[in-house]
């Protein structure tokens, strides 16, 4: 109980008894200060001059910073330094170009006959690797893909005899364009022809609408092979 000074004793500590305020005094003293300050101006109402300066600076800063970086409360501005973000062409209704994966479509539709490596099967299905039928203008290849082909066909000196099913009812124009582009521009297969546009497929589809598959001779007549 009678420890040194730091011990807070509320019993008989002279220091405490003399200088501490009771709750009543605390409340009354501060209320009086307040009343005096609010009263006739005789009280000490002055805010320290430095504080006034700091308060002013704070408000000036707040105003300037706010108008400089708030971007007029635009919900689409994420970077105060930059331009408003856009939702992208899809959300805005513009024509968005969907990049279809030609390789994936090829694997889904073509590998059964032409094989994953594009070499085909001897005697039945001709190769796509290094084939003159694939190179050059895309019309020939796309026309075959749309309507199919039956009978014998000579590719790179070998003859193949089988049937290719028409894909015009199975694949969209952009899917056919994606597959044709993949086959024609695949560097692993030694092909580096131009890409095929969806518009080109649309055009060929309407120009060569027919009920039966092509014969190889018909194709060669319309679209002769490059020499």
């Amino acid at each position: 109980m009678s420890d040194t000074k730091p011990t807070d004793s509320n019993q008989s500590s002279e220091l405490a008894g003399k200088s501490r305020m009771t709750d009543d005094t605390l409340l009354e003293t501060h209320t009086r200060t307040f009343a005096k300050a609010e009263g006739n101006g005789e009280g000490n109402l002055s805010i320290p001059i430095i504080a006034t300066a700091v308060f002013t600076l704070l408000f000036v800063f707040g105003g300037i910073y706010h108008s400089r970086y708030s971007a007029d409360y635009d919900p689409m501005v994420f970077n105060p330094e930059g331009a408003p973000a856009s939702l992208g062409p899809a959300a805005e209704g513009g024509g968005i170009e969907v990049k279809l994966d030609g390789e994936k479509l090829y694997k889904r539709n073509c590998v059964a006959c032409h094989q994953a490596d594009g070499q085909g099967l001897p005697g039945a299905f001709p190769p796509l690797v290094g084939s003159a039928w694939v190179r050059g203008e895309p019309d020939r290849m796309v026309a075959i893909m749309l309507n199919g082909l039956s009978g014998s066909i000579e590719v790179a000196g070998n003859t193949y005899n089988s049937i290719m099913t028409p894909f015009s009812a199975l694949l969209d124009d952009d899917e056919i364009a994606a597959i044709a582009t993949y086959v024609r521009s695949n560097p692993d297969w030694g092909n580096n022809a131009d890409r095929v546009s969806t518009e080109k497929v649309t055009e060929l589809r309407s120009a060569h609408e027919r009920g039966n598959a092509w014969k190889a001779e018909e194709i060669l007549e319309l679209f002769p092979l490059d020499q």
Binding site: T7, M21, T22, F61, V77, P80
Partner: protein
């Protein structure tokens, strides 16, 4: 003197709830510090205790922050806050048993919550990790305690009102509001997308700024003039300080979202609000610092005042640093580093906790009517806490700032100067060792604190027992206390 008997009557009405809140606060403080110590050791020795899922970093880090915020922070705030409310209302607490019920359920909720975090039921939201079976109880008990605080204020003795009452009442009112709002927007009717992040930062910022801070400031406003026996310097500014704090803090949290996927104006308003918080901070600094300016010898001599003044100085510093950290150019460097952890420790420990320690040293002798048994333990507590937290802040601010500058340094060709990320991480290791050392030092101080409290309880129980024998002899029954608390 009538005021003497009145205040002792008030203290008696607060004795049981006060003891419940204060003792559970200390228990949670020790628990939280153990978790913090383990967390800190794990950040330099990842293999330490890593084989038990319950003790992995994610679990104990969240368990630590929840123990400190809700266990220690909540209990200390309720105990000290309600006692000050009753003292300034100059009426005993009506039906203190309701406070006991509220307090018991609050502690059940925190126990369930921290236990749930440990066994893996935690959510992923910062400072709201407690599972839903704990949060409902927590919210309801906080409302009960808040309502009781309002009743204490409502049925005060007619007469003047002091600024501390405003601050404490606000803290009691704001917690249920921010807590329930955050729970609803994050878990019960989850808002979509980035609104969740916005809600989380709004909550985290307000938890410190609208809950712990008002309680700490209210206690400081009460204790400083009372112990020094001198009115607060420029008291007429105090109300402006209070209302501007209430106005600006709520917006400030958005400044943490710099660079995030939120509209720029939201961040800008947050930054402006954070900077504008300097207005209340400056007013509070004038009130607190200028009042104690020329009596540092008495501050050094008084056990409570030392802690309180350390806390108020920390409040000013933490707010100034927080204001600078909110600016875009600074935030780009400090974000996601230990600087941010340092700033919240600055608020939670160096400011709030230190003021609460001071308030405990002032309040405990009064509700137990017994003096502190050991001055040496108080000395030990103060110096270990003060040096420990200072060391921790240096470690966290230092390591974070170095980490941030190295991560963002860009060479002449737009290439990162410090390309090796792991090297940057390794550079922080010495600082993290320093943090572990600082937590050890802090826990020594806390053990001294807890020992002193236990010792005091034993003394109080003994004197109470003697008193009861005396009272049995005394016909009037109430006179067994040798002398009642005057102040």
């Amino acid at each position: 003197m009538p005021s003497e008997s009145k205040s002792s009557e008030i203290d008696r009405s607060m004795k049981l709830p006060g003891l419940l809140f204060l003792l559970s606060a200390v228990a949670w403080l020790l628990t939280g510090t153990v978790f913090a110590l383990l967390t800190s050791i794990k950040s330099t020795f990842p293999g330490f205790l890593a084989n038990c899922e319950c003790l992995t970093y994610g679990h104990i880090s969240a368990a630590g922050s929840n123990s400190i915020l809700y266990g220690w922070g909540g209990n200390a705030l309720f105990g000290v806050g309600l006692w000050i409310l009753a003292r300034l209302g100059r009426r005993p607490i009506p039906m203190p048993v309701m406070l006991l019920i509220g307090g018991v359920f609050w502690n059940i909720a925190v126990t369930l919550g921290v236990g749930g975090i440990i066994i893996g039921d935690m959510t992923s939201v910062m400072w709201l990790e407690m599972p839903s079976y704990a949060t409902t109880i927590l919210a309801i008990s906080s409302i009960l305690i808040g309502v009781w605080g309002t009743l204490v204020y409502r049925y005060r003795q007619p007469g003047p009102v002091y600024i501390s009452q405003l601050y404490i009442l606000a803290a009691l009112f704001w917690f249920p509001w921010i807590y329930i709002t955050a729970q609803i927007f994050l878990f019960y009717l989850p808002a979509r997308g980035v609104v969740q992040v916005v809600t989380n930062w709004w909550y985290a910022h307000n938890l410190l700024g609208l809950w712990l801070a008002p309680a700490g400031l209210g206690a400081a406003y009460y204790l400083i003039p009372k112990i020094l026996g001198r009115p607060v310097h420029s008291y007429y500014l105090a109300t402006v300080g209070f209302w501007s704090l209430a106005l600006f803090v709520g917006w400030g949290g958005m400044s943490n979202l710099v660079g995030g996927p939120v509209p720029a104006w939201l961040v800008t308003v947050g930054i402006v609000a954070s900077v504008a918080t300097l207005l209340p901070v400056l007013i509070i600094a004038i009130n607190h610092h200028l009042t104690v300016m020329d009596s540092f010898d008495r501050v050094a001599a008084d056990p409570s005042l030392r802690f309180v003044v350390f806390g108020t100085i920390s409040f000013t510093l933490a707010s100034l640093i927080g204001c600078v950290l909110s600016l875009r150019s600074v935030s780009e460097i400090s974000q996601f580093t230990t600087v941010m952890e340092g700033n919240s420790q600055h608020f939670v420990y160096a400011f709030f906790t230190m003021i609460m320690f001071g308030a405990f040293y002032f309040m405990m002798p009064r509700i137990l009517n017994c003096s502190w048994p050991s001055g040496k333990l108080i000395q030990c507590h103060f110096w270990c806490s003060a040096i420990g937290i200072t060391l921790m802040l240096i470690a966290l601010y230092g390591s974070g700032w170095i980490q941030g500058t190295q991560m963002t340094a860009i060479g002449a060709y737009g290439d990162p100067v410090h390309g090796d990320f792991l090297q940057i991480v390794q550079n922080t290791i010495p600082w993290l060792h320093a943090r572990t050392a600082s937590i050890l030092l802090i826990s020594i101080g806390q053990l001294a604190f807890a020992a002193n409290i236990l010792w005091m309880l034993v003394e109080a129980a003994r004197s109470c027992y003697c008193g009861m024998i005396g009272a049995a002899k005394d016909a009037q029954g109430e006179k067994f206390l040798p002398e009642t608390a005057a102040s």
